[in-house]
Each structure stands twice: as structure tokens, then as C-alpha cells.
Symmetry: none
Subunit: 414 residues, 2 copies
């Protein structure tokens, strides 16, 4: 079975925006043993869209259409599919009523044009949108004598993902033969891509049955492993064996072998140890706190902290002596450590984190260049301070610095 993924929206034909949903969908389709053979992007242009749907129906078993289901005149997906496949479009009055109710709950009058979201292809199942207003549609039909599945999904990623996992995956699973595929993700923190690859390439090359993809992000290298075998158990054993060998080689640089993010792992360790953390951030400006609190349930382990961007606030909130700032400068090993130790004590946390550095593009000097960052963690007994020089733009330096801090908290909890 092959699939085509179609992203609909003129904004994705500009130099500014790109479809990213297709990566998510490809992962999910592959997990069922379905290959993606084509990806298409088309604008909000009825004639073009009809042509694209027609082409997709003629060459792919499954077509996933994303976007163009909203209430505006630019939202043409329903109409285009109807036209391309010769299927009737009918207004579902129960759906219209539901929409009115939803708007009433929020005490907003429903704009008239919203009703077109209730136009349903004859024979299609309406897919409820738990995170937005535009419902999706699932159509099983025939085209030129061949069975075809058409999934119409909303464009916003959080809406699409929920609808795909909740509504489309179960339906597809019933329709495709169960494939014996196993996948595994191993993630490594704070090591360079080439260093990781040099150490691991001899290992994963000895496992030709496991498809290994190495992805490098900011302060993170990920191995995506994937095996197909006669049985699920066999496939699983293959990826598990390779994952084990990678972990043996990279040891405690591996922070996750089931796909979790570094912030999830940190939250998990904190809860396991029943430990509370507090942060004092200068150059990261709240990014570390933001990453920790992005995880649901983080209030159990994260107390809070201070964003001490100005020197005055370093003194006010984290008790940094003005003399220390004068002597060593705000960007120094001493200040980083004092931030970590003081914020821990002030907030009565178990672990304190302190970060100070120069994110750029301005503010650097020969002695203290842009990208210089000091990160400290302390648990009252032990502490660790690291001096790093990160390269790249402001966003990159801040991201690396936050990664360094989270990784040090993880290591302190191990």
C-alpha cells in the first residue's frame, strides 16, 4: 500500500512556510508498514486542487489531505475532493447545530461562513476535531475501479495529530495487514555529531537489518532505529539489541532510549527522587524554566525561580553580592555557582541551577566572547560548574545553554 500526503495552503508555496505535518504522518504511516510515495503541496486554488486530488486518487491507495477545511473562502478542500472524485457534498445539519453550541459556550456569535465546515462528502465519516472547530472527513471509495482512502484533516499540527492518532490510526490498522515493524529512538545529550558517529558507525553497520538514521539537533544526537522482521517480537529484538550496544558504547551520555525529551527525563528523575528544583537564569532568559514547565505535572518538582537579566535583579532575587559582580563580571564561573547555590537556598529547593552567559549578537569582548556561557548546578553538598563556548546565533546559544543545564541536572540526579 502506498500513500500520498497533500499539504494544502498558498502560504506553503511562499518562501516563508513549510509543511511539517508530513514528517509526523510519514512516521505514523511507516509504523503500519505503509510507504509514502508522494508528497504534494498545492495552494488554495480550486482548479489546481482538483487536479492534485485526481492525480493522487489515480496513483496512491491512501491520500492524506491537510488543510483547507476552515471557514474561509480559501478553504476549498471539501469542494475539490467532491469535484475530483465525483462525490456529492451535503450539509450536515447536526454538525451545524453543534458548531452553534460550541460558539455559544464561549459566548461568541458564530460567523455565518463557519457553516461550510459542515459540508460532508457523501459516504464519508465525520472525524471530530477535539482541538479546533474544523471537523475532518474519512472517505473510503473507489476510483477507476480501485479502492481508495481519502483522509481530510485540519492543517494546524496539534489538531491534525490528535485527529490522526484518535481517528485515522485505528481505522487504518483494521485495513492494512499487521506489519512486523519495531522502532526505537536513542537520544544523546551534549556530544558532537561527528564524535558520536565515529564511535557508533562501526556498531550500527554491523546491524544491516536495522535501518539507522542519525539526526543531530542543538546539543542532541538521535538514533532512529527501525527493523522489519517475520514477527513483531523478532523485529523488536533486533532494534533492542542495537539500542543496547549503542547505550553500552555511549554510556551515560544517553539520556533516553524510548524517545522522551530531555525535559521529560529531568522531570521524571526529579519525581523519582522526590526532589524540587529552582532556577536562576540570566542569558537563557526563562528558557530553562519554560522547558521544564512545558511537561505536564512539572509543578510536582519545579518550584520556580528568577530570571535575573539585570545585575540589580541578580542581587535582589539571588543574593549575588554587587562586589562579586564587579570583581568577576556577571558572566563568570563565580556568579554562575552563586546563582545556583543561592536560588536553591532561597527557594528551599533540593537542586539549584544557575546560568549566565553572552547570547549575542552584541555584548561580546575578546576576553568574554559571544557564546561564552557558565552553567552551574548544586544540591547543597555537591556542585558542578561548566564553562562552555557555543557557536551560532542568539537562539542557538540559548538553546545549547538550556540543554547543558538540563543535562547537568539529569546527571546530578543519576
Amino acid at each position: 500500500m502506498i500513500a500520498e500526503i497533500i499539504a494544502i495552503g498558498s502560504e506553503m508555496l511562499t518562501p516563508y512556510r513549510q509543511d511539517t505535518n508530513s514528517l509526523f504522518l510519514t512516521e505514523r504511516l511507516n509504523s503500519l508498514g505503509i510507504s509514502v510515495a508522494f508528497k504534494t503541496v498545492v495552494g488554495d486554488h480550486l482548479e489546481h486542487l482538483i487536479g492534485v486530488v485526481h492525480t493522487a486518487a489515480s496513483r496512491a491507495d491512501i491520500s492524506v489531505l491537510m488543510g483547507g477545511l476552515g471557514p474561509t473562502q480559501d478553504d476549498l478542500t471539501r469542494e475539490a475532493v467532491a469535484e475530483a472524485l465525483g462525490v456529492e457534498l451535503r450539509r450536515d445539519h447536526a454538525l451545524v447545530t453543534e458548531m452553534y453550541k460550541r460558539f455559544a459556550e464561549r459566548r461568541i456569535p458564530m460567523p455565518e461562513n463557519n457553516a461550510q465546515q459542515a459540508d460532508v462528502l457523501a459516504g464519508a465519516v465525520v472525524l471530530p476535531n477535539t482541538r479546533g472547530t474544523a471537523p475532518g472527513q474519512w472517505l473510503e471509495t473507489a476510483f477507476e475501479g480501485k479502492p481508495r482512502i481519502m483522509a481530510l484533516l485540519p492543517g494546524p499540527p496539534h489538531e491534525l495529530q490528535a485527529m490522526w492518532d484518535g481517528e485515522c490510526m485505528p481505522r487504518l490498522r483494521e485495513r492494512v495487514p499487521a506489519a512486523a515493524i519495531a522502532t526505537r529512538i536513542v537520544k544523546v545529550a551534549m556530544m558532537g555529531e561527528s564524535a558520536v558517529d565515529q564511535r557508533t558507525a562501526p556498531i550500527y553497520r554491523k546491524h544491516p537489518n536495522v535501518e539507522t538514521t542519525v539526526l543531530a539537533g542543538q546539543g542532541q544526537v538521535e538514533f532512529h532505529l527501525r527493523a522489519t522482521a517475520a514477527s513483531k517480537g523478532e523485529a523488536q529484538a533486533e532494534v533492542d539489541r542495537l539500542a543496547g550496544e549503542l547505550e553500552d558504547e555511549l554510556d551515560d551520555a544517553v539520556f533516553s532510549s524510548a524517545g522522551e525529551s530531555l525535559e521529560e527525563i529531568v522531570n521524571y528523575y526529579l519525581q523519582m527522587r522526590n526532589a524540587k528544583v529552582a532556577v536562576a537564569e540570566s542569558c537563557t532568559g526563562g528558557l530553562i524554566a519554560e522547558r521544564i514547565t512545558s511537561v505536564a505535572g512539572s509543578s510536582r518538582s519545579f518550584l520556580g525561580g528568577a530570571v535575573v537579566y539585570s545585575n540589580e535583579l541578580k542581587t535582589l532575587f539571588a543574593d549575588i553580592p554587587p562586589l562579586m559582580l564587579e570583581e568577576h563580571g556577571a558572566v563568570s564561573r563565580e556568579v554562575a555557582l552563586a546563582l545556583a547555590e543561592n536560588i536553591r537556598e532561597i527557594c528551599r529547593a533540593d537542586i539549584g541551577v544557575g546560568v549566565t552567559g553572552i547570547s549575542g549578537p552584541g555584548g561580546g569582548s575578546e576576553e568574554k566572547p559571544v557564546g561564552l556561557v557558565f552553567v552551574a548546578v548544586s544540591d547543597g553538598n555537591r556542585h558542578d560548574v561548566v564553562q562552555r563556548r557555543f557557536f551560532g546565533d542568539r537562539e542557538r546559544v540559548r538553546r545549547w545553554a538550556s540543554q547543558q543545564a538540563l543535562d547537568m541536572v539529569r546527571r546530578m540526579l543519576m
Copy 2:
């Protein structure tokens, strides 16, 4: 004239890799007044590739094919174009000789299969590759009676970009009428997409010469305007006129009419008024501070603040009386306002921001559901507190709340 961009390569049909060349090409094509109407990704699969080229030739004036020009068995682009258009493929012996010479210079024997890189479509011009070995091809032909341009380019970005700018742009410039294009971006905060569209559609539809794309993000709607006219000045006047009418209609909900982000605008206003801001964040967990400090130079206006996730820290850092927390609850209008006023005073800032809410997925109740957020700003004389209910997951609620806070700071500074 419309173009189709075709990325060729099975690796771009995995969950891990994406075509990025098309953003570069789109920018270049647009600058000549050529719209990109379709983007397609297809694997190294001859039958699929022939179909894709055939479809492109039938719907686009210009097709740009990227990749599949190398020496391996997977490199099928030349063959597919020949097959799809019914054009002969001829081995260019001068090219083969050149390749042999190139390999001889490096004292490496040339692998036999390399010679396929010298297969040239009848009528095509060979495009030299200054940064790699695979030459490109430029074919002007007719398909179903219509004039068609086919550009075959190598996949690696640095090779493609050099070949496009050096070989393709000059050829295209001769073939398309000189276009005068102007663009403009207008951004709106904290209004729903359909509400914005209902008020503005009657306006932008009166400007059919301006191509208007409406993009909706979290708490943000953007209008991307683009006009083509006889002269640059005329095109500019067209987009400016529409931008002005949109601003008149949406009034102070418009925060940017030159593409800036909300955090950039807030930083800009703060600097203009020489005002300092401090934040006390509960549910946003540092996101507001992170967004403000993501802008270079924000240290001039951003002092810092506190991430007061726990009740204890609300008292410790923002002086919230425990009695107030008990009486009204941490998520309340009273606490939001006190956070804003106290953090302003404590940090000696001009403007204070306070946010408290329930990001979810847990922690909601009937009285105080997930998504309920109170946002307050205060400048000592005036204050504003807003109660909002945001829908969606944790990330979305937090993003909307941060957008609300930044927008309220902007409004206070206006």
C-alpha cells in the same frame, strides 16, 4: 507563468528529512514574478518519477527538478524526463571525455556508471556544475502544444544554488517579462481567524490585484500581501493601500505592518518610551520572559522577574499574601493583579506583568477549568486585568497566555 518544484530522492520521503531547496527556489522565482503553484516530492522510483514529470509538464510552465542526476542506479531523473516527454537521451561524448580528464587529474579511475551523467536530453543545454560533478540540464520544449521549460538540477543545496543563480536566472530573465513586485505583511494579535476574516474579506476582495494570504497562528493572524504591477512604485502603492485599509478596519489590533514579531514590537515600544519591564509568571513558566529576551538588545528594557510556579514562591518573590492565595486561589484576578503590581515595584520597573492560570492537562475544576488564565499589567497608575479561557493542549494554552500578556504590554505602551 507558474512553476512546479520537484524534489527527487527517497530520503525525503522518510520522517527525518525535508526538502529545503524549494524555499530558496521559491524566493528566486517569485522575484521574477513567477508563482510556484505546486511542490512535489517523489522517491527514486522510475515509474513514479515518470508520472510526476508528466503531470508537471501538463500543468506548469516551468518545472524545476532537483536531484537524481548522480552516477548511481538510483539516479533516474534524466531517464524519467526523456520517457515522460518523449525526448531522446543522447550520450554527449565531449562530456564523457571531460569526466575522464577530471578523474585523471585526481589520479582516480572513473567508475563506469559515471558516464550516465553525460546522457543529455535532445535539445537541452548542459549546465556546468561549478561545485560538484553532476551537470544540470536546461530544456525548452513543447508538451501538448504548450511551451515548457524543464530545469534539471543537482540536489545538494550549495551545488543547486550556484547553478540556479549562475545558469538559470539569466535564462529565465530573458524569457519572462520584467515584473515589478511588492510585498507587505500585516499582523494582528488576539483576534480569532474567522472574526478577522469576516471583517477583512470584504476589504481585500476589493483589491483583486493584490494576492492576499491569511495565516493564523496562536493568538495571531497575518496577512501576506503581494502585488505585481507595471512598475515597482505602482506595485508598492497597491500593497500599501490595502495594508492601510486593513489597519483602518482592525485599528489597534494590528501590531505590525512590516513583518516584525510581537516580541520585537514590544521591545521596540519599550525602548522608544525608555521603559523597563518585569514579569511574574506562574502558568507560563518563563515563556513570556523567554519570548522578550529572544530579541537581541532586550537587556535594555527587560530587567527580569520571577517564575512563581509554587505558592511559596509567589509569596517569596512577588509578595503575594498567603491569605490572598487562600481566599481567592492562586488562579484569580486578585493574584494576577498583585503579581503585576508587586513585581513592578520590587524590581523597580515601569511596567509589571502578572500571569496565573491552569495550563492543563490536569489541575482543572468546574469552577476553574483547564485553560482559564488571568493576565495583568500595571504601570503604577493604570492597570488592566483580563480573564481568558484558552482551548487546546498545554503548549497552546501557554502560548496564547504569553501572547495575551505581550499584547497587553504593547497596548499599555501605545
